[in-house]
């Protein structure tokens, strides 16, 4: 296989890995106000992804940096062209990242409520905007002869792209609901299942219509298989969820997320950034790529290290495989200070362990 094609596949793999993993992180964040009836339940919801969200986010960093290394023209065009949406995504990820770490650091309901809003919006915005961005990549944008983006912000907000945004949003809500049901016990689990029931219908309608448009406008004959797979994944997830088989439901939503992006990347290839002005300005795997020498080095690094990363990340999921429920949430441990804790009562409680 041609190295540029190989790198298209590697980058598609990194993005798809990102959306599979952080897709449910975003879903968990978006469902925080829905499933988190009280603070303990909110903590259950957040802690389903506590140990792993950070590692999941690195898939995005690596996908972006790999585009820089393997297809510098793609990286430069995409990130300068989609400037404001990407700025919003970055701001959202910053706020969301510190929110997880900081929300429990003060014993103050208003403080936590503020960070909970940060987690919610920090999840909604990227979940929606990534769909907008990738729909625009597939659809094509105006590019000039230097491959610079020649459109405006409004060009990015076309109906097809907005439908793409709704698609990732609903898919991730469903993926997150199923993940929470899989990782929790008790009321949170039951509630997540009923949310998943509704979200599955929404995802079937929204993602179904978006992918049908994509397939008829930009698809290849083989991507029909991927579209059918998305439908099967969603239907399977809905059926498994109704029977309380959460592991199968998660496999179903995961399949749907993966195949939805397989459809998008499949429709895109061999372009990486089609131009709507004239096809001659389009970026392809050929004219956007780095030199063969760089691609060769990067291929070796990727071939050796990607499996290692997957093994130790997989191990993390194994270490934290247990479900959690309200009973497992330890008492909040804010720092000892005069302001918190009632007099005569220590601000921190002894951990029940040992």
């Amino acid at each position: 296989m041609d190295l540029t094609t190989a790198w298209f596949l590697i980058i598609a793999f990194l993005w798809i890995g990102y959306f599979f993993l952080e897709g449910f992180d975003f879903g968990v964040g978006m469902l925080l106000p829905v499933l988190g009836r009280d603070d303990v339940r909110r903590r259950v919801v957040i802690n389903t992804i506590g140990p792993v969200w950070d590692g999941n986010e690195v898939w995005f960093i690596v996908a972006g940096a790999s585009m820089f290394a393997a297809f510098p023209e793609w990286y430069a065009t995409l990130f300068s062209g989609f400037y404001l949406p990407l700025l919003l995504i970055l701001l959202a990820l910053i706020v969301r990242g510190v929110a997880f770490e900081y929300r429990g650091k003060r014993d103050d309901a208003r403080w936590r409520a503020r960070w909970d809003r940060a987690i919610f919006w920090g999840s909604v915005l990227p979940a929606f905007l990534w769909g907008v961005a990738f729909a625009n990549i597939v659809r094509g944008v105006p590019l000039d002869a230097d491959h610079e983006y020649a459109g405006t912000l409004l060009d990015l907000l076309n109906p097809y792209a907005l439908l793409g945004g709704l698609t990732t949003l609903t898919l991730f809500v469903l993926h997150g609901a199923v993940f929470i049901a899989l990782k929790t016990t008790g009321n949170v689990r039951l509630h997540a299942r009923s949310v998943a029931r509704v979200a599955a219908v929404a995802a079937l309608v929204v993602a179904g219509s978006f992918l049908l448009v994509t397939q008829t406008q930009y698809g290849k004959s083989w991507t029909w298989l991927a579209v059918a797979g998305v439908a099967a994944g969603l239907a399977g997830a809905a059926a498994a969820n109704a029977r309380g088989r959460e592991g199968w439901a998660f496999i179903g939503t995961g399949t749907a997320v993966v195949l939805a992006f397989v459809t998008l990347f499949g429709s895109l290839f061999p372009d990486v950034m089609p131009s709507t002005t004239t096809a001659a300005n389009s970026l392809t795997t050929q004219n956007a790529a780095s030199s063969a020498y760089t691609l060769e080095i990067m291929t070796w690094v990727a071939l050796v290290f990607t499996p290692i990363v997957m093994i130790y990340q997989g191990w993390t999921y194994w270490v934290f495989r247990k479900r959690i429920g309200t009973a497992q949430i330890p008492a909040a441990k804010a720092a000892k200070s005069g302001k918190t804790g009632r007099p005569g009562e220590p601000a921190t409680r002894k951990s029940p362990i040992g």
Binding site: P72, Y75, K350
Partner: protein, 472 residues
């Protein structure tokens, strides 16, 4: 302001801000790992209490380092697309390898360390924090390889057809002399930062004689680390200075305010000049020292800015090839003087606390607390010096900063981005500072609170209702 200025301000603000958190993270995680190792080896509770206390401060700080790092990677594409197109072939590779090798490592094992206290066997859990430490240093290695390439491009050729830089020798990029000296210099400075931080916070508690059994060992460990690291900073800094003199003579000439080429050039510890920089108002000089620092010989020749400007014009055409001299001159001095101060302070601290002593004079402790800020100022100054001293180049001798900016991005978009990021960073700075102060003052957990986790191997299916050792 045009887009180049806005993009430069954004790069400066986001980079200096990011680098307030990074050195502390790199150094502190190693200190925390050292404390946890001491606990695992000796079983002494005070080491576990120290691990938990410093670990918490590390996590509050680390969160900021991570989230602000995302902006660093993506502003190359957003604000500097012309640069990215020109150098992506060379510059992208270390960046991508940093992500694949180091970021995954750090974040995954950090998750395991934070949440794994009762899920992993003791020694595996300890290994996780060492993995995080290794990851942070590996990350610095690759990002400094990328930065050093901008300072001193090696292992590339310019492709005639496309006009782009193309990688010809990746090994040369990794063993760039600039990189081989900048990397140890940065890591050593990170250990000074963490050492002074731990010493400063310990001083606050020790002045009040609080939790002495936790903070005295912390202080001693921090002072030893700072003393050793300060020496390493000085040695690597001296080596780096010689490499910079060789490859970026203009930067060192500006750092010295040296306008005319001289043999036996003097070092000027202090100098105030007229606004155009040509005449000295007050100042003094130590003869021969600059030549020695730059070349290793007291009567070596050091090129001055006037000759270098003329040579650059002959090579690259008309233009101003001199960086902003006052900024470069003073940031260089701040970095050097503070480096000397931390070395002296750490040795003084070690002597004052020798053989179980704790000074009674509150000023000893107050100075200890205040010096906590010094390394942050020094490393910020160091980066401003490094990056400003490279101007007008984004890639030294190859591409000017003014040609690197994204041609398609409007000044309005960039201003929105600059404003939004600066505002958010300012708000987060206040929050971060307050949280660090709060948890630093709160002190370590009590002996009861760290009652050792049960000795089983994490397989606790018999106890479904047991609370998690840590939850957000």
């Amino acid at each position: 302001m045009d887009t180049v200025d806005i993009a430069r301000w954004q790069f400066g603000i986001t980079t200096v801000y990011h680098f307030l958190f990074v050195p502390l993270s790199i150094g502190l995680v190693a200190l925390v790992a050292g404390m946890q190792t001491a606990w695992v080896r000796t079983g002494k509770t005070e080491y576990l209490r120290a691990t938990k206390f410093w670990g918490k401060l590390f996590l509050i700080n680390f969160a900021m380092g991570i989230v602000t790092g995302i902006v660093q990677e993506f502003q190359f594409g957003m604000n500097w697309s012309a640069y990215s197109r020109f150098v992506g072939d060379v510059f992208g590779a270390p960046l991508a390898i940093e992500g694949l090798l180091a970021f995954f490592f750090e974040s995954t094992f950090l998750g395991l360390w934070i949440f794994g206290w009762d899920r992993l066997p003791k020694k595996i859990h300890l290994a996780c924090i060492w993995m995080v430490s290794f990851g942070t240093i590996l990350s610095a290695f690759f990002i400094l390889a990328a930065n050093s390439w901008m300072q001193n491009p090696v292992g590339y050729r310019i492709d005639e057809a496309s006009g782009r830089a193309e990688l010809t020798d990746f090994w040369a990029v990794l063993t760039n002399p600039m990189h081989l000296t900048a990397f140890p210099h940065t890591i050593a400075a990170s250990f000074v930062t963490a050492g002074m931080f731990v010493a400063g916070v310990s001083a606050w508690h020790l002045m009040r004689r609080k939790n002495v059994e936790v903070f005295r060992p912390s202080l001693r460990m921090a002072l030893v680390v700072t003393a050793v690291a300060s020496i390493a900073v000085a040695i690597s800094g001296d080596m780096l200075g010689k490499v910079v003199t060789e490859h970026q003579p203009m930067k060192m000439a500006a750092a010295e305010g040296l306008y005319e080429t001289q043999t036996g050039a003097p070092f000027s510890p202090f100098s105030v000049r007229t606004p155009d920089g040509t005449e000295e108002i007050v100042g003094f000089e130590v003869p021969g020292v600059l030549s020695f620092l730059a070349t290793g010989s007291f009567d070596g020749e050091v090129k001055g800015m006037d000759d270098l400007q003329a040579a650059a014009e002959a090579e690259h055409g008309a233009g101003d090839y001199t960086p902003n001299v006052p900024v470069v001159y003073w940031t260089f001095r701040m970095m050097v003087y503070i480096g000397m101060a931390t070395a002296g302070l750490s040795l003084l601290g070690l002597w004052l606390t020798r053989r179980g002593r704790l000074p009674g004079n509150p000023w000893a402790w107050r100075i200890g607390m205040l010096s906590l800020t010094l390394p942050f100022i020094a490393s910020s100054a160091g980066w401003v010096f490094t990056e400003m001293g490279r101007q007008p180049w984004s890639v030294y001798g190859l591409m000017q900063t003014s040609q690197s900016v994204s041609p398609g991005v409007s000044a309005g978009s960039m201003l929105i981005s600059l404003g939004a990021l600066t505002t958010l960073y300012a708000v987060l700075f206040v929050i971060e500072f307050k949280l660090l102060a709060k948890y630093a003052k709160a002190g370590p957990p009590t002996e009861d609170e760290v009652a050792p986790p049960s000795e089983d191997d994490g397989d606790d299916d018999h106890d479904e209702e047991r609370a998690l050792a840590f939850a957000y």
